[in-house]
Symmetry: C2
Subunit: 220 residues, 2 copies
Amino acid sequence: MKFDPTLYLITDDGYLEGRNWLEAVENAIKGGVTVVQYRSKGRGKTAREMYEELKALRELTRRYGVPLIVNDRVDLALAVDADGVHLGQDDLPVEVARKVLGEDKIIGLSTHSLEEVEKANDLPVDYVAFGSVFRTPTKEKPVVVGVELLREAKKRSKKPLVAIGGIMPYNAPEVIKAGADGVAVISAILGFSDTYKAAESMKRAIERTRRELKLLGLLP
Amino acid sequence: MKFDPTLYLITDDGYLEGRNWLEAVENAIKGGVTVVQYRSKGRGKTAREMYEELKALRELTRRYGVPLIVNDRVDLALAVDADGVHLGQDDLPVEVARKVLGEDKIIGLSTHSLEEVEKANDLPVDYVAFGSVFRTPTKEKPVVVGVELLREAKKRSKKPLVAIGGIMPYNAPEVIKAGADGVAVISAILGFSDTYKAAESMKRAIERTRRELKLLGLLP
C-alpha cells in the first residue's frame, strides 16, 4: 500500500459519537484524506468493539485504496490486517512492534522534541509525527512546539514527517512551508458536519502551498 | 510449555500496588502456582508500562517453568513471547486471536453460562474459565454461577475447565469435586502478605481433594 502522508486523518472517538462515523470518514476520504488512523482513547471501549469498528474501517479504506493505521494496539492492527500502527512514546517500543508486525507494515512514531526526532532516525519507523505544532482542542496539555521547531525537526529527520496539532486550512501553508510531508488532523475535519468539504479545504490549502513552493524551486 | 491449570494465579493490579509485586508472584509460584496470568484492567497503565512489567514476569515465569498468559492484549503476549492469552467475551474473537498468535500459543476463554461453555467446544481455545463460582471481591457485579452449574459445565465441556470467582482453601474442595481441572484465584493468594503460604494452602486443599477423589475412584 502506497503511503502518502499528505492528509492524515485520525478518527478520535469524541468527534465520532452521535453521528454516522463511517460515513463521516468516507466523506473525508472522498474529500482528499490520504491515510486514516483509528484511535480510540480512554473511552472504555472493549477490544471487541474496537475490532468491529476496525473491520468496517478496513473494508472502507481498502475500497478507496487508503492505508489504515491503528493507534497503539498492534494486536488490533494484526487482527484486521491494517497497513500499520502508530505508536506513542508510552506504547510498545517500536523495535518490539516491528518484530511482532514484520517488515511489511508501516510503523509511525509520535515525537515532541528534536531529541525524539533524531532518535527516531535510528529506529525501525516509517514516518514520524511531530507536534503539537499549534494549540489543539484534542489534547488537554499539549506540548506546543511551534513552526520554527517543526522546520528544524524536518531538517534533522531522515523520515517522512507528519505535522500534527491544531492544523487548519488557514495555518496549513506555514506547516507545509516549514517542510512537513503531510498534516495530521482530527478536529479540522471531524469537527465539521460536512467532512467532505472540510477535507477538501485542507487538501486545497496543502496543494496550493506545494505549487507555490514548486514554482519557487523549493520543492522538487 | 506444559499447561497445568491446577492453581492459576491472576495478577490483578489492585492487589499488587504498594508492594514488591514481582516478589509476591515469585513466592506464590514457590508456594505452588502452576500458571500466571498477567491482567491490568482499567488502571490506566500505558502499553509501555505493561510491557515492562510483563518482561519481568516473563523472565520470572521462565525461570520457574511456569506458563505466562496475558489477559486481553494479544500484542503484549507476542511482544514478550508469553505462552498464551486469556480472552473475555468482549475481547478479540478467539478465532481472530488464533490466527494472529498461531497454533502454538495457549488461548483461554472466559465463560459464564452453559451456552458459552458449549460454544467454546467448537472454538480454537485450549481451556475455558468458568465463573464466578462464588461471590468475589474483585468483580463489582459478578454473575455467580454456583457449584451445581459448574458441575454441569464440566460435563458439557470438551476443554479443560478452570473454575474462577471467590475460591478459597475452604471451598476449593467443592470446586474440585464438581470437576474443575483447576482453580483461578486473585485474592485467595494476593490478598495475603505471605503469598507463599496462601498459595500453599490452596494447593494443599486441591491436592487433598484430588487424593480423596482418587481413592473413591472418581478421578483417574
